[in-house]
């Protein structure tokens, strides 16, 4: 259990790192308390935006510190380890004869994975905070309770950042749970809706099931290494002597258990059921927690396991787990995409898309793990490169997806917001402004794409952001996710060549690319292209500035993914050899990326790349175009860069439109609409097995266990009646009893004597 920290700290910023966590954590009670005390106070409401403007500087500060930290990291310091080790639990175990002191403390751990996630989290937290001010505070339904939103929001940010920065699996789990709590609270933000209450519970419980396994994984891990600190564990993993005494199958089980936790948190099959329901929360929540950050926690955890797979001592031992990770990813990718086909709720489509994309990343990670575990990458530089790129692709996709999906959700939020607004404007003007109960106060569903259409002209910036985001997710060449997704697909096939089991996930991700193209296009087209589906959609107006800022920023980031790729993001490596921009210059890097993507020397991968592009960027979107959308309404104009898209769509729609009602009415579609009945069976299991069993148990507890006690009491009462009835009241009987007693004694003593 030796603690080896030979890496020297050379970043001043590390000592400020705890502030990244602490600032939002402290803001939580402040906002909550002030909000309760100054509720309805005009200054609080208008000037402080019910706490939104308290959260904002806090998140900005977190971002700034994070950026400084990242800068230092990129600037060269390779590593790791904490300057502060906060005391938490000191205790003792008995290790077969000796008492060993144990401590579970908190510290900061920074490496390339941390840095990636740290940036994503703090950056998106700030942007979505800005968005929230524009979104939450303008909706009358949230009046006088936004402080709750902001308080829980900052607590969430604190949890997310804490999870990223923590230096041990234990503290990862601790912050992980805090995120879970915030997710629960925020999904249930509209607590008065039974659906929200149900969704919140479902989210917490489903992830909790994963967490249980995670905890078991943790304690198994602790048992193996005597610590949960990354530092200790990772150096122990490299220690061949130590690893000789460790059963690799136990370790694999431990990692597998932890992986189940990740499955729950990242909404992968079979613990995916909570994510679509989680869309009951306000849109910023969906954007931040259920698309961009929290759901990445599972990925982060799996990425953290990389050193195990990469360890020489474990070479070839963890292949099965890598396969399972990839397989779960593959299954989920296809399943979620398929369900997304039939969703009409804008946010639900995005939710399934999130699931599907996270699954990609899992597949990517699984493949990278496989490679790291099988190749001799410590010594062979080619192998090293392969591993690094595979791992980098997965992480890069995480980055791209977080940015794009955050943006998509925000954009969709702005659409919903405006549609809702328009609806109110149209139908509720006579009610005055004072009384809006909730979104669902009548049959109108502001989230349904059936109520939209042709919005490209009404909300140009939003439509643009949505377009860019969709393209990134689809993997349209040159945009955002393309760079990473191609890498994932390529690596999946690379592994499949080596281990045929991987053919399944590899196929899944390939097919999934096309499916992604279809449903993302469908979503965009149904919303923005074509003609307004009803009166409401025709009256939607542009959105406000608070909302525009983050949309614009993220559009920019997504579009500039190639630059990041060129800087070496795809080589984001588990060691310092491939540090940021350490390999080549920017231009050189971009050129290399382009070359690598489109002119791969290996014919297999060359074909694969174009096949993927064909499926994902042509076939999928083409199919969508032929079914949905069309030209805008007469006289509607949109921004020039969207015109080609609309035109293309109109052309395809006119040319290739076909009647898909046969498919739409098929039982498969019905099953997809019912989310493949998985939720149904889970609910039934809960209701028919768990709840029924617990009711029976409660009955048994009172009738059997307590019943025994009651029977003893009743029995002694009736025995008492019997005994007392012997006292008949007749003196004759009493004398008789005396005589009997006398005789008894007589015979007893007589017998003895």
């Amino acid at each position: 259990m030796a603690s080896s920290s030979d890496v020297i700290l050379d970043s001043e910023m590390v000592q400020y790192a705890p502030l990244i966590i602490l600032l939002p954590m402290l803001a939580f009670p402040v906002i909550l308390f002030l909000g309760r005390v100054f509720n309805k106070n005009p200054f609080w409401k208008n000037n402080l935006k019910e706490g939104g403007l308290i959260a904002l500087p806090v998140m900005a500060a977190s971002l700034i510190i994070s950026l400084l930290l990242i800068k230092d990291h990129i600037g060269g310091f390779a590593g790791i380890k904490d300057s502060i080790n906060l005391l938490w639990v000191n205790t003792t175990v008995w290790d077969g004869g000796v008492l060993e002191p144990v401590s579970l403390g908190f510290g900061i751990y920074i490496d390339h994975v941390t840095v990636m996630l740290l940036f994503v989290a703090s950056f998106l937290c700030l942007l979505i905070n800005i968005f929230s001010v524009g979104y939450m505070n303008t909706d009358p339904i949230n009046d006088n309770r936004n402080h709750r939103f902001y308080a829980e929001f900052v607590l969430f940010c604190s949890g997310m950042l804490g999870m990223v920065l923590a230096d041990s699996f234990l503290w990862l789990f601790i912050f992980w749970e805090i995120m879970g709590l915030c997710s629960y609270l925020l999904i249930g933000f509209y607590y008065e809706r039974p659906s929200a209450a149900y969704a919140a519970k479902k989210a917490f419980l489903t992830t909790r099931i994963g967490d249980v396994f995670l905890v078991i994984g943790l304690v198994m891990m602790w048992d193996i290494f005597g610590s949960l600190d990354y530092d200790v564990i990772f150096s122990a993993v490299e220690d061949k002597e130590f690893m000789a005494g460790v059963s690799s199958s136990t370790l694999q089980w431990a990692l597998g258990m932890m992986f189940i936790g990740a499955v729950g948190k990242s909404a992968q099959f079979p613990l995916h059921v909570w994510l679509p329901d989680a869309m009951e929360g306000p849109t910023p929540v969906s954007a931040l927690i259920h698309a961009a950050t929290m759901v990445n926690a599972g990925l982060y955890l799996v990425a953290r396991m990389f050193p195990f797979f990469g360890a020489e001592a474990l070479s070839g031992d963890l292949v099965d787990l890598a396969f399972i990770i990839a397989l779960i990813g593959g299954i989920t990718a296809v399943m979620a995409a398929a369900i997304a086909f039939v969703q009409n709720d804008l946010k639900k489509v995005l939710a399934y898309s999130t699931m599907s994309q996270l699954a990609y990343i899992f597949t990517g990670l699984g493949c990278a793990m496989y490679l790291a575990n099988t190749l001799d990458w410590h010594n062979d530089s080619d192998a090293h490169y392969i591993v690094v790129v595979a791992f980098g692709a997965a992480l890069f996709h995480l980055f791209n997806h977080a940015m794009a999906k955050g943006m998509l959700f925000m954009a969709s939020g702005s659409v919903i917001h405006e549609v809702h607004h328009a609806h109110h404007h149209l139908h509720h003007d006579d009610h005055g402004d004072g009384h809006h109960d909730d979104h669902h106060d009548d049959d109108f569903d502001a989230q349904s794409m059936e109520n939209m259409g042709g919005l490209a002209s009404k909300m140009p910036l939003t439509a643009t952001a949505m377009l860019v985001g969709s393209a990134s997710i689809m993997g349209l060449p040159f945009i955002g996710g393309f760079w990473s997704k191609e890498g994932i697909i390529a690596n999946a096939w690379r592994v499949a060549q080596d281990d045929p089991r991987f053919l399944l996930p590899a196929l899944c991700v390939l097919i999934g690319a096309g499916m992604t193209g279809f449903y993302m296009s469908r979503m965009w087209l149904k919303t923005f292209a074509g003609k307004p589906n009803n009166e409401v959609a025709a009256h939607v107006g542009p959105t406000n500035t608070w909302i525009k800022i983050p949309l614009f920023t993220l559009t920019f980031v997504t579009l500039s993914a190639i630059i990041l790729a060129g800087m070496g993001f795809t080589h984001w490596a588990p060691d310092s050899e491939y540090g940021f921009m350490s390999e080549k210059g920017l231009v050189e890097g971009i050129a290399y990326e382009l070359d690598h993507a489109f002119a791969n020397g290996d014919p297999f991968f060359f074909i694969l790349t174009y096949l993927a592009i064909a499926i994902g960027a042509v076939l999928g979107p083409g199919l969508a175009m032929s079914l949905y959308g069309g030209n805008l309404a007469q006289g509607e104009q949109t921004k020039p860069w969207m015109k080609p898209v609309i035109k293309l769509n109109a052309w395809v729609y006119a040319r290739f439109n076909f009647n898909n009602s046969a498919i739409a009415q098929s039982s498969l579609t019905r099953a997809l609409e019912q989310r493949l009945y998985i939720d149904y069976y889970y609910d039934m299991a809960m209701l028919k097995i768990v709840a029924a069993f617990s009711n029976k148990s409660a009955e048994a507890d009172s009738s059997v266990i307590d019943g025994t006690i009651k029977n003893i009491e009743r029995g002694s009462q009736s025995l008492s009646s019997v005994v007392r009835s012997l006292t008949t009241g007749s003196a004759r009987d009493y004398i008789l009893m005396v005589s009997v007693g006398t005789l008894a004694i007589f015979f007893l003593l007589w017998g003895v004597a």
Partner: protein, 542 residues
């Protein structure tokens, strides 16, 4: 040294409460009404004095004591006076790292309970009874004499009996008597065990031996004897006797804890007890059982401990799982919380059965953490009942709208109880899990032992969340608020209640983030007992 200071800890609350009660009981009803406020204030001040005293003890204000590195079976603030010479009964009190946290907890909960139930009816007798309860509880923890220990052990029943009987719910008579008789029955069996143990001492060997019997009730001397006797293959009193006495003592402690299947008095008592009674009952009284286990059977009978390790583990597991399952089937809020206590007490037993210092420390910390969290649970239940006149889950929905403070408190307490990280309960749970797994792999137990705790982690979340779904959340439909509340202003909790909740919440967080404040000394105690006793004999194999 200020050794005498542990005496007023016990004597002061008992005597002052008895004086107050005697004073009140002779007053006419009208005078009694007028006495409520001064008496309430007096009780609050008295209890705060106690809190100051124990807190001062912690910060070593009353003289240099060390809560760490106390040798096993050494005590701080140790005083001993002869009480009944002929039987070897002494007034012996003292504190060590095992008892001090519990004493502090008691003195902490007393003022909080008084504040949380500030407006309880018949206050003139209610508050002194709470104080008396506190005194008796402290007495249990500081006693270092078996006789004294038993006296205080039973003394706690009387104020609680009256609290349930006078301030309880509809079925209070049944509950109060059941509570009394059930626990009394178990403790007399324990008493017989104690007496048997007493007479199994070698006569006239102990310093405080009685003139008539030649034996002593002194716990420290007894433990010392046991420790010196438990050497190698020799066992204090021999293996068989250890096992017999262990079982007899454990019957008393397990019922008090309570462990399944001896737990059914608890839901009845809790559901019927008033809020203050429940808070103290769950907060401290249940811990008496666990405390007793550590103080006596575990310290005296290492062989029996190894012998019954499996049994303890089974009882712990069953309590843990059964408690959680039954919780899920409850419709009564308070009953659910009561069963959750059963479940949590299972954690303590499992912690003990791991035979790991870490597991024991987890058990000790669980006692402490549950002692802070469960009063909050019951305070919430009490406020719920008080405001909505029902204990049924689902009778009142949408609390977040009507009573945001109560909703927040409930959310907090529920989350704390389900083991949310950075709150006190989590620390104990994770430590227990680590210790359990460590034991499983070290001693080659079946990994299926892990299934129980794992299941319960999920079940606990399930019942708490489900109940929150039907209380805090929802309420948007026409059936809420319920008919009897329509048209009325639905009140939120009162200011004293808020204050009490805030304090409890603060300490729950404090001990979640900085568990070492209490855990360090607990760990030290477990280390000492393992070094001094358990390991000593562990090598002999059992």
């Amino acid at each position: 040294m200020n050794d005498w200071i542990s005496i007023p800890l016990v004597a002061f609350p008992l005597i002052s409460s008895m004086i107050l009660l005697a004073f009140v009981s002779n007053a006419s009803p009208r005078v009694r009404e007028g006495l409520v406020k001064p008496i309430r204030m007096a009780c609050l001040v008295f209890s705060l004095l106690l809190l100051v005293l124990t807190t001062g003890m912690f910060f070593k204000y009353f003289g240099e004591v060390s809560w760490m590195d106390i040798q096993f079976n050494d005590y701080e603030y140790f005083v001993s006076y002869a009480w009944i010479d002929s039987l070897g009964i002494n007034w012996t009190v003292g504190l060590d790292a095992l008892s001090f946290p519990m004493v502090w907890l008691t003195t902490f909960l007393l003022p909080v309970t008084i504040i949380a139930t500030w407006n309880e009816k018949y206050g003139a007798t209610y508050f002194p009874l709470l104080l008396m309860m506190g005194g008796a509880l402290i007495g249990v923890f500081v006693s270092l004499d078996l006789f004294m220990f038993y006296v205080f052990w039973e003394l706690t029943l009387i104020p609680m009996f009256f609290l349930i009987l006078k301030w309880g719910g509809a079925d209070r008579k049944y509950a109060a008597q059941k509570f009394f008789i059930y626990t009394f029955t178990a403790s007399v069996v324990m008493l017989l065990g104690l007496i048997t143990l007493y007479f199994l001492q070698e006569p006239n060997t102990l310093a405080s031996a009685g003139s008539m019997t030649g034996r002593s009730f002194s716990i420290p001397e007894l433990i010392d004897t046991a420790r010196t006797a438990n050497v190698g293959d020799n066992w204090f009193l021999g293996k068989t006797m250890q096992n017999i006495l262990f079982v007899m003592l454990m019957i008393g402690f397990l019922v008090k804890l309570p462990a399944v299947p001896f737990h059914t008095w608890l839901p009845d008592a809790h559901v019927q007890a008033p809020t203050g009674g429940s808070m103290l009952l769950a907060g401290v009284m249940l811990k008496m059982g666990a405390y007793g286990m550590f103080r006596l059977p575990l310290s005296l009978f290492p062989h029996a401990l190894y012998h019954f390790q499996l049994a303890l583990m089974i009882i712990g597991m069953v309590s843990l799982v059964w408690g959680a399952i039954v919780c899920l089937g409850q419709t009564n809020l308070k009953k659910m919380v009561a069963y959750s206590s059963v479940s949590h007490m299972g954690v303590i037993l499992i912690g003990i059965a791991t035979m790991q210092p870490m597991g024991w420390a987890a058990a000790l910390f669980m006692m402490f953490a549950h002692g802070i969290i469960s009063p909050m649970l019951f305070a919430v239940c009490g406020a719920f009942k008080h405001h909505y006149h029902s204990m049924e889950i689902g009778a009142m929905r949408g609390m977040a709208k009507h009573s945001p403070w109560l909703a927040t408190s409930m959310m907090f307490a529920w989350m704390a109880s389900l083991g949310l990280p950075l709150l006190a309960g989590f620390v104990a749970e994770i430590m227990m899990l680590i210790a359990l797994w460590h034991m499983i792999s070290l001693d080659g137990w079946s990994i299926w032992w892990m299934v129980g705790p794992a299941l319960v982690l999920a079940l606990t979340a399930a019942y708490y969340l489900w109940s929150m779904q039907r209380t805090i959340f929802e309420g948007g439909d026409d059936t809420q608020p319920p008919a009897n509340m329509v048209g009325k202003v639905i009140p939120d909790i009162s200011n004293p209640e808020k204050f009490a909740m805030l304090i409890l919440a603060f300490f729950t967080i404090l001990f979640g983030v900085m568990p070492w404040i209490a855990l360090d000394m607990m760990d030290d105690w477990t280390k000492q007992i393992f070094n001094g006793l358990i390991l000593f004999v562990g090598k002999g194999g059992a």
